[in-house]
Symmetry: C2
Subunit: 467 residues, 2 copies
């Protein structure tokens, strides 16, 4: 998009403030044009949009319409847009593209993105795309497909700027220039020794600082961090942020350079983890709305809901065990939902803090007594406050101090118990090798309900003769 | 860290796999050395660590020990480490540093970080730091302090590579070289016209592609995106990811270049939003564990817990209203916790999806009927399945089909009702200008509890004569 004249170009500078507002209006116009298959007018709008915006629009169109618009895109734009599509839209489009077009689009991508897309195809389609791609590209994609997608290997791309340690600054600049021509983002040049082992990195601006005939190993950062392909993607994100870097080399255990991860991959990882954590806390497996059919969404959520239902049945059985107590003092039933909600809430908060602490490295499960002690102090205070308030309310409501004491004490015990369970379960699941986030959400809630109700009704039963 | 000899440097290449493991062992050794104030040995270890690791260690030490170790750091390392500290540790260290040292450390920072740190100081301290800093730096910091910290203005830094549109590629390289000497990360060179209006950007590798005497405006990207300082930080993150950029210029409404935001700031924003969302779902205001005293944590959480308690009292009152029904058919009490938990769970899931959809732009609140219709189909299916299963269990348990029908129908109605409320509330709060995430969590849960119990006990009361 270089300007080739000397005419004023100030009209391009008016800042657009609200991207989404513009898109919403545009989308409505576009939807009508697409419905009426006004090729020329649709193309006219689409041409002025970046791939990210096009993807946003495709995500909101009906599948057949999305496929129609996708058919108008150049291979270059299509290959960028496809990466930003929602899973169901991408799935539908990939499944309906002709073999040739698919190969062309995948061929435009960097190796990491190509591997992600090929990995989503049916085995048959993937195979024929890999066969029709050029050999160098397809062997890179095949290599990347071998790694777990949640690891450094799954994030890395094969395209990178690499020089040998005896190369000069001038040679390094030549490598960068070549990659820039291919529209690749280059942030660092990696330096390898004669056996291909990674020995350091040079930042791009540093290449401009030194004499062209200087050897790169004299100006490289030899402490530059690398990871092996099996390192978890959350750990990769942590390394980027701790070392304040924008690209990270991936090597095998011997130190041989295999590929590189860039900071935009980390941004994607963080978004994905965010969605996952929020989904788990809500007791589901995905919070992405997208175009997925409501029936499919319901079927995906059903197993989780059913599991919660069965867990909650235990709470129902507990209530049944104490039904004599309940029928004698029916007001107890009014405090049941309160006690279980508050102790569930406290337990969930403790669990969320520990899950987050483990993720950020602030909680060390080997020194499990430290967070446990801290959370105990917290729940003792909260338990005392809630027990006092609820106890007073209950005492006045029923008209007897003893009833208040039973409710208040139950609240106090249940909160402390829930806090301990909420703190311990994520640490235990982490130690056993499970994702600690899985324990937050509905399991935690059901468990807390059972604890709260059991404590409350047991205490009430013990005190029954005086109530 | 440039190598100045030709000796083999392969020993630096062994990849270290697990950063945190290393730190944990190191930390224990270090803690002992710090406790015994073994200056030389502590310094020896600290010198080999990057600022990110040092911050991680300081976060875990007791305050007095952290302050002692911090005192050993050079200004350069200290200024980088302080940015990675937990809020309470940073607060303690900043409050206890001598005026001179504080000014030196802030002076080492980029303007955006300097503004963040000065913004956290007491008014008195902030003022004297700004007075003792050099005038150019302090006026930049003062400018940045005027912006809301959750906006583009709060994220941007004043340091950037800027050239005039009539400058040559050679001149642009000179600017980059100068900034690289000051150890600044440069990704793009921004181009302004004679009145300082932003008109485009050049990527660093592109500078290497063109003849030194070419004018920059001929090679710049004139479509390069910019934002005004008031744009929300979530929108900023969305722009980075949509346009696949690593730096974003900030301009005033007239288009005058004010500063730039880099992708590492976006990584910080995403982490912060993650913490906030998880915290809100757990019904608290922060899930950061840190060194914050447990008493303070309890006091911070108490208002939220108390609010939940008062909301839940309404559920208690509802139960009380129906106590005659309950005392006649006490088995109803066993199904109360199940119905309220499952409908609460479904409502929370719907709410989480809508909150996320609004954040990612997938849900357009102006077309509110679309998500509502989708969620209704989902809850109709889930409600039917859960109603059937729970109804069968209840029927067999009580021994009468009618009891099963009451429980099953209540479950069905409560789930659909909760799903609608869960879908509508975040959209309504978004339309009213509130953060939709605030409605997920305890408020949602309390509300759902009330709905579930009311539906269930009303229906049971209506059917009472036949039960």
């Amino acid at each position: 998009m270089a300007q080739d004249t000397d005419t004023p170009i100030d009209e391009t500078t008016v800042p657009q403030k609200e991207t989404l507002e513009v898109d919403d209006e545009l989308l409505r116009d576009l939807e009508d044009l697409v419905k009426s298959r006004s090729d020329y007018l649709v193309l006219n709008i689409i041409q002025d949009l970046v791939p990210g915006d096009i993807a946003h629009i495709l995500n909101r169109l009906e599948m057949a319409d999305a496929l129609y618009v996708f058919g108008m895109l150049t291979n270059e734009v299509a290959s960028a847009a496809v990466l930003d599509l929602d899973e169901p839209t991408r799935e539908h489009i990939l499944a309906n593209l002709a073999q040739d077009r698919l190969t062309e689009i995948v061929g435009e991508m960097d190796s990491d993105d190509a591997a992600d897309v090929v990995g989503e195809l049916s085995d048959e389609k993937a195979e024929s795309v890999l066969e029709t791609m050029n050999v160098a590209d397809s062997s890179q994609v095949e290599e990347l497909l071998r790694y777990d997608e949640n690891t450094a290997g799954g994030l890395m791309a094969k395209e990178m700027a690499v020089v040998s340690k005896t190369d000069t600054v001038k040679a390094a600049i030549r490598v960068v220039r070549k990659l820039a021509k291919e529209k690749m983002h280059v942030y660092n040049v990696y330096v390898v020794d004669e056996s291909g082992l990674f020995i350091g990195a040079v930042q791009l601006p540093d290449l401009l600082l030194h004499a062209p005939n200087k050897r790169v190993y004299k100006i490289m950062n030899a402490d530059y961090r690398s990871v092996t392909p099996d390192v978890d993607q959350e750990e990769v994100a942590r390394i980027f942020s701790k070392y304040d870097i924008v690209s990270l080399p991936v090597t095998d255990t011997a130190g041989k350079l295999l590929g590189r991860i860039t900071i935009d991959d980390v941004v994607d990882v963080l978004k994905e983890e965010h969605d996952e954590d929020v989904a788990r806390m809500a007791g589901t497996d995905s919070v992405s709305v997208g175009q997925r059919s409501p029936t499919r969404m319901a079927l995906m959520r059903l197993p989780w809901v059913m599991m919660t239902l069965l867990l909650q049945l235990i709470a129902g059985v507990v209530v049944h065990v104490f039904d004599k107590t309940l029928s004698q003092v029916i007001l107890l039933a009014s405090f049941m939902p309160i006690i279980s909600a508050i102790s569930g809430n406290t337990g969930l908060q403790s669990a969320a803090m520990i899950v987050r602490g483990i993720a950020t490295g602030q909680v060390d499960t080997k020194r499990w007594w430290l967070p446990l002690r801290r959370q105990l102090i917290v729940t003792l205070i909260i338990g005392a406050a809630c027990g006092l308030v609820l106890g007073l309310i209950a005492g006045f409501w029923h008209g007897t101090p003893l009833f208040g004491a039973v409710v208040g004490t139950s609240m106090f015990i249940a909160i402390n118990f829930s806090g301990m369970v909420g703190t311990a379960t994520p640490m235990i699941s982490h130690s056993l090798g499970f994702d600690p986030a899985i324990t937050a959400g509905p399991f935690e809630t059901a468990f807390q309900d059972i604890i709260g109700i059991t404590v409350f009704l047991s205490l009430a039963t013990a005190m029954l003769q005086w109530l």
